[in-house]
Subunit: 252 residues, 6 copies
């Protein structure tokens, strides 16, 4: 499922208007083994999201009657323009990887009723096959689709009672930023590196905020700029929520 | 230097009002060897901040004429109520530690003119001796004082030209959150664990935002709640900026 | 480019005959950033091969006038039927990963004239997106295509003189094995786990052996069986060499 | 509690006489969370000692009816004159750290009746906040105070029967050395680096030896020199034992 | 036990004929503590093989009624001509070490009836004390002797029923290679480094293959060359099998 | 070279008298590649000591005109009665290993004139092949022999001027301890585990102390006991110094 945005008419580096998303494609069930999976593309950014459903929970949740959802994010060495060393070879996870993995996990848990999930674990793996800006927000958006399918799998296989409402909402995410003084939606890499302020916003399908992470890369920002960025993000996430709904409906 | 807040008259867990900081103390030059240092206390939270000034820059900045500021955050094993394992013994840095170290570094770099610093490096070490909520924001606030002294040291020792304006502003940080439906300033640990939304805000002395990191721990939050939290944080950081100014003036 | 094998008429688990390859597809230039890349599929096995061309060589080859080709193999956590832990999270590379990475590097170096490459390095990354048996041999076969394109890139960008013959031959690889007493070509996972003898064979385009790695998983094997397996492998690799030629010609 | 030694009248680098300790201060209960804690200062050397009491013992002692006491020593990166890299960042504990941690643990266990402690564990954490020579001996001396309070805590909380005599003696430690041919007590850093022989001695409150670790840094030493050093150490530890008694009595 | 080959009359670097083994010595029970051990020497190559018998199996085999045999290979730092860094100091096992450990384990398991062994584990440690080519094949050959003794120990101590036939065959290994165009048996280091093709062959006492690992170091090899190498290896392993039989018989 | 002590007539666990060494054997040049080597045996304790001479010094000594001597100690997994896990597999060096490696290095440096050595490095590797108590002291005693030969090698190969006196003395080491109230020389393992006090003493050929490390394992010890242990150790080391002299003379 994808949104083929109309021919760009704006003046951004790739011709988009300030509030225009890149073309977004979601290929559901890209993998044969995973209980849920999605290959999500935002322009040239491609993230493979897999959801693994397993019965049982980590030791610290045993006997709680409640489930767990967690995530790991990683990037293939040649996802980027210049090859990066593998974290497995370096023998440790970098700070950025840790930070994004934690963000994805928190974002997905925000729309899950862990009690309804029961003592089951869903592990999300978001592997960036190609990076062109916005990999963490693409990962969250795609992971939601994989997660939804893994929950459906759990119900079909009777690990989760069919009557339970495990998902309390949907969730998507987008990056926004101030580039050359102008608030822009969905930064691609060339925009990202020149942004003065960079913000990742995670929004539920019903329009509330799950995470707001704004960072002044150059000059600090004020309340007005913050407001403009949140407006853009809210609009972008509404579009993404629609794409998610469409892809989950059409292919079912 | 410290602010001895008046006897608490509010109804929070420790008697504070919703917009009241805990008692804040900054002991400048707590260490004898470091070029700048501060022991900062927010109530029972105590963070020892050391700034190490060294000539030269990391390899990737050599020849750029520009300097570097970086930070490492850590917690002593018994800073917390229950002892935590040492990261040195586990052989790796955890995700939370990485994330906070990166936040502190970015926050301090936001108010530094790295070109004016010249090819020098300032390494900030923020070690939590005791934790009771708000350790990362206390670390940023204290690190600024240590940083200012390390820059003064660099000028006194002619590593930085005395005429250069290296600091472009001051910076402080505070945590805010929604606890039992109410926006509160400067959460202590008991409040932190029950907050539905938790936000760390980094603000310059002139009142602009450097970082805004809001997370829905429970229910997602809306624009109104976000606004109330930002108001509290802006007020709290203005108080902290004044304490920083006082401590840097009085003891010079 | 792919070979669509005719409708299986054999009696193997997926209907193939003993000497029949699975459907093989090679999508050249699957990645936008890499100097060479190929997504190779052997049935449900999918490996993404990227070749990164960089000027310069590792320290131990500096000044030799000669280049270097090396490889890293890895598997996404959910490539397999049951999720495997990430090696980056475990903090170390497993023995199997090491072994296969070394095999791929040796195999590709066998058909490269490192002196003709000059002091340049080509790093091959073979990441298994989905595993269904034969991942290492698919990796070698796909890596050759990525390598050929990376060398072409080096010539186009004048890092390698256009007149140099850097590739001395092509190379491909296939797994063979004895399953229920019968020698079979290109084992899929269900066959692989029941094989008594498992052999990976790496063959040049001109039909010579680069590597022969045979392992008795169950009963030891004799010279006759070894001969039968080598015959199958030689035939399979000849088919793969033709597919490689086709894909490199058609899309150029 | 501290000993304010009279104005130095000797000819050592800081004016002390050869058998004179530096000013020693012990601040009991410096931490709010730990079951026992002490900030100990020997001149500019400052070590924060925390004792964590937990019920239960490591797996290898389970069911033995006997307890365990162990210690970890570490140094903050800017404790020293030049910043040292964090062991958590390096990903491994250095040899010196290991060695000192083991020494502290052994020293404390020497004056504990582990059977009387019952199946409880006391973990000592000795973190050097500032280093000016003698950090390991200060750590042992301070750790004893923290340990005594942790045991008292265990009795107050009924984890240890009040009638049990868990501590069989007290323990303290001091460094001695031969500097420019002269035996000296309690070396500060400037003396330490020029010592020909360096010895750390751990002594019980009743005057017996727990550890004697003498090392010829320059010329080997003979029995006479060894005797002179042991005399100095015995005297110094008797003073320290008195300070420990005073601090444990006065503040109770 | 050893084979003292007649005075070399060939034209190889050490005077051997192409199909001649180096002098092979096996000192059984070189160690006092291990349940089985052998110091094996192939010329100057010396490998100490220890077999440790323990009751119980790894977690993943518990309750299976079946045992486990595994191996670890390592090299002392000064086994080689130039000192190599210790893997313990580097903090990780290299790819070559991993590969050889896995090969030894597989080779020994090929001649063991794990069901007959019962829920017992035999751990083989093969430590190269001195290296001069052929360390992995010497390790396999010596490990068999240690393994046989460890099984005998298990029977004597009633951990394995005396009537069970645990060993189904014997196993030995040898390296062969093409050096200056000529197939040679049992390469010493000087021959190994100049070999165009290098092959390690693991053969049972009854003459079947357990592993065939041939690698073209220089030019690829053809079926004829492969045949010649297998002939040499088969002959060499038959000699080794006889030495193993002799050493196990004579010293019993 | 060895000392064959007369038939034991004492009442120790192996029949020795309290001041009697175990049989000590030193096999010089046990290795073919190392510049110096010795296999040293104290009863069943066997340590292989290798000295590697390399031109050049670590970075921090470059240009000093002075050399470096360092040591690494390790134990094979099955050196002990029960197999221990490899430190390379665990991925880190244990505290005990670190501590002993540092002790060996310090002990050897005490009798070396590093300036006379010039900018050369000697690396000592002491690998315990079998352990039965006293491995660290055997390692020091054997390492001296390997070191002496490596220095001679350096002179023969003109890396060190023949006229330089690099060794200023010899060095050996022995363990002593109080077992069942009685001071004993050269503890074997069964004695070591029951010792109340355990002391390792490193003594020069001329009878001065390099290291004295006494530890109360059970009850603390007094000056009289310390004196008795030092007397035993001094006598034992004098015997060892003679054995070292003999082995270095006879085989030259």
């Amino acid at each position: 499922m994808s949104t083929q945005n109309p021919t760009p008419a704006g003046d951004r580096v790739d011709g988009r208007t300030p509030d225009q998303l890149r073309d977004v494609h979601i290929t559901r069930n890209w993998l044969d083994h995973a209980e849920g999976s999605a290959l999500i593309e935002f322009g040239r950014t491609r993230v493979l999201c897999a959801a693994s459903f397993t019965e049982g929970v980590p030791r610290w949740k045993k006997g709680s009657g409640s489930g767990w959802v967690t995530a790991e994010y990683a990037m293939l060495p040649r996802a980027t323009n210049t090859r990066g060393a593998r974290e497995s070879v370096k023998g440790k996870i970098g700070g950025r990887t840790h930070e994004i993995s934690r963000l994805i996990g928190r974002s997905l848990r925000a729309i899950i009723d862990l009690d309804a999930l029961g003592e089951n674990t869903i592990q999300l793996d978001c592997d960036v096959l190609q990076a062109d800006g916005g990999t963490r927000t693409a990962a969250i958006t795609g992971a939601y689709v994989a997660l939804a399918d893994a929950i459906a799998w759990g119900k079909q296989h009777a690990a989760v009672p069919a009557a339970k409402q495990v998902l309390t909402d949907s969730v998507s995410a987008i990056s926004v930023g101030i580039v050359e003084g102008r608030p822009l939606l969905d930064l691609e890499y060339r925009e990202d590196v020149t942004a003065q302020t960079d913000m990742n916003v995670v929004v539920t399908g019903s329009g509330s905020f799950v995470e707001v992470q704004g960072t002044a890369e150059g000059a600090p920002f004020d309340r007005t700029e913050l407001g403009a960025l949140l407006d853009l993000a809210t609009g972008g996430c509404a579009e993404l929520a629609q794409i998610q709904r469409d892809v989950l409906v059409e292919q079912r």
